[in-house]
Symmetry: C2
Subunit: 105 residues, 2 copies
Amino acid sequence: MAIAACCSPESTTPFTHDDATRLARVFAALGDPIRLKLFTLIARDPSQEVCACSFVVELQRSQPTISHHLKILREAELITGTKRGTWIWYSVNTQALSEVREFLS
Amino acid sequence: MAIAACCSPESTTPFTHDDATRLARVFAALGDPIRLKLFTLIARDPSQEVCACSFVVELQRSQPTISHHLKILREAELITGTKRGTWIWYSVNTQALSEVREFLS
DNA sequence: TTGATATATTGACAAACATCAATATATCAA
DNA sequence: TTGATATATTGATGTTTGTCAATATATCAA
């Protein structure tokens, strides 16, 4: 293979595969246009909390599809939802967000 | 639908679908553990430039697989590669990176 | 309790993705 | 030119993903 001819062989990956997988899941959660819009709508709402009911109309996707995308964002811990009666109010998990920001700096 | 009952109907997505798609592609590029490691290896190298030849051994993936992932990172404009003779030296596109960072803040 | 509404789950399907073996291209050295 | 090496492309395969219709669950109001 002769890789030693051009590269130092002992440089290693800076985190474990598990860490990489977990962080990759966060990026992947933002890696879809609909979820990116969902996240932005939640993050940029003046009240910092948004009820899910508008997303179907706003993003022109079916209710199950929106629900599915919100679940992915929740599982990546980018957002949290609290139920108040019939509605769920979403807000951004600022700690997860700063971890991502820290990785990128 | 009675969505007006809980949400102001005129709140709108803060960017176009095309913009969301383009930015989502950048996040998706980081949304795979192998690519996240590739990116990190390139970004954290002291010399700021890394030749591709070590990645096969380091990340335990075949050469075509590494080549494929590097292409995705390149197409997302997260990295750039310059050919010097037989080898290609990769470095991070810092401007694309700050655009992503800006989105997250 | 009955009806309406908000959200979640299931099942299905087409499209996209990660991966590798095989092959191709390009560069360098002898 | 010939052989070796670095990277890219192609083709194939199994897996994951985005989407929706149908259905389920939960909450509220009458």
